[in-house]
């Protein structure tokens, strides 16, 4: 019995490693394979920081919209508002989770937007949109807004003079 278990274990490790190698290959076919086979997140992709999107800081904002359609000023909420990392983050850095979540959601939203060819109905139904809408809707509701919009803004580095650019702008919603 243990000989069979040993053989099955070794075969499973070999297959798992082969699948991980396949998931690193370039091309949509292999990336699609990785996404489909990525059971419980155990088929990683090791190409970190693959594009210029990593050279921005992301900020989540909402603004109230009055009944006559006039929008108020943007109000930043969420983890993007926290500025620089703490000095001891090399050892202890819990704050990276929500910051990373915002980056992941922003990138997923824009990728989804491109894949769906900017179809507003499909974008409004995608999970990252719904998640950010939920979060901003709670803030807008607490702020007493009758309607709100949310946006992901991108800043371009701490030494850049460039103003924040609108990376994604939502539709108008009730909180």
């Amino acid at each position: 019995m243990s000989a069979i278990g040993e053989a099955v274990g070794i075969a499973a490790l070999a297959l798992w490693f082969a699948a991980t190698v396949a998931g690193q290959l370039p091309g949509e076919r292999w990336q699609q394979f990785r996404r489909r086979a990525n059971f419980l997140g155990l088929l990683p992709y090791w190409g970190f920081f693959t594009s210029r999107l990593a050279t921005k800081d992301y900020h989540l904002c909402w603004r109230p919209v009055a009944a006559d359609g006039v929008a108020g000023a943007w109000i930043e909420v969420g983890p993007g508002a926290r500025g620089e990392r703490p000095a001891f983050s090399a050892l202890w850095h819990p704050g990276r989770r929500p910051r990373k979540a915002l980056v992941d959601l922003a990138l997923a939203l824009v990728t989804f937007q491109q894949v769906q060819k900017f179809d507003p109905a499909l974008i409004r139904a995608c999970p990252p949109y719904l998640a950010l809408r939920e979060f901003c809707g709670r803030a807008a509701g607490a702020g007493g807004a009758a309607a709100f919009e949310f946006a992901v803004l991108a800043s371009h580095g701490r030494d850049s003079d460039r103003p924040r650019s609108v990376y994604f702008l939502s539709a108008r919603h009730a909180p």
Partner: protein
């Protein structure tokens, strides 16, 4: 604990570092209590939009019942306790390691599903390492399985380095150093002093080519004499330590260092 001169001892060392990393990351999640409140950025009302529409729709309702604010904190607390217990049990040569390892793994997988956005490659590598170790612990008398697990963990780490190197090599913005300067210029992943140091394009190019060379050449570690293997792994620790300081990627130090005893044994066997 003895020097990793055989695969079983190498896996004991892997387990020690894995346990330390699991305890740290679980403690960090406990420190994020406010974020897991309903109004927080990792709160259930928001996470439910992400979890319930993923591949397993049933997971959403199940998680909604048990993985809200207190549930997540309870799972993180269990993982912290199991990680510390695993660390102590391995250092003391105790027999409870397999059960504690299973708890560390199960809690880690549960948290990865609960926080689908915000998890990192280090979480994935830690889970992969824990599964490999658990397999070896299930068959403690199997020398061949211990060898296979050691190679599996060593090759997973080597694959991660090579892939990261290839991705940088294929991208002109990495090769000319501009992407490195851009990343280090951000508030979240950046570092003000290092960004200033790399303002000169030649300095940024030199830094990124050193990283690319390290990552692409990593598999050569398996063909080096023992003193060079240690030097190579020390360079790897320096690399991850630098990333932790420069980019705040502290969990990667633990996740990759956990594979190093396996790499050492595979390289010097």
């Amino acid at each position: 604990m003895n020097w990793p001169t055989d695969p079983a001892r190498a896996l004991d060392w892997v387990q020690v570092v894995l346990a330390g990393g699991a305890a740290l990351t679980a403690a960090e999640l406990l420190a994020l209590r406010r974020e897991f409140r309903p109004e927080g950025f990792l709160g259930w009302p928001m996470a439910a939009r992400l979890v319930s529409q993923r591949r397993f729709p049933w997971a959403g309702s199940w998680m909604g019942a048990v993985m809200r604010e207190r549930g997540v904190q309870a799972v993180a607390a269990v993982r912290l306790a199991a990680g510390l217990g695993l660390l102590a049990a391995t250092l003391a040569g105790g027999t409870a390691a397999a059960a504690l390892l299973a708890v560390v793994l199960a809690a880690g997988l549960l948290l990865m599903q609960r926080v689908p956005y915000g998890m990192e490659g280090s979480d994935q590598l830690a889970a992969i390492t824990a599964i490999g170790l658990l397999l070896a612990r299930m068959f403690p008398d199997s020398g061949r399985l211990a060898v296979a697990v050691a190679w599996f963990l060593a090759l997973q780490a080597a694959l991660a380095y090579v892939t990261a190197g290839v991705v940088k090599l294929r991208n002109p913005a990495w090769r000319d150093g501009s992407l490195l300067r851009g990343v280090l210029g951000t508030e979240f992943y950046g570092h003000a002093a290092l960004a200033r140091l790399l303002q000169r394009p030649a300095a940024a190019r030199a830094a990124i080519w050193a990283v690319i060379a390290f990552e692409l050449s990593f598999p050569l570690v398996f063909f080096c004499p023992p003193p060079l293997v240690l030097a190579w792994l020390a360079a790897g620790l320096l690399f991850h330590g630098t990333l932790a300081v420069a980019m705040g990627l502290n969990a990667f130090v633990w996740a990759f260092a956990a594979a190093y005893p396996a790499i050492y044994w595979c390289a010097v066997r």
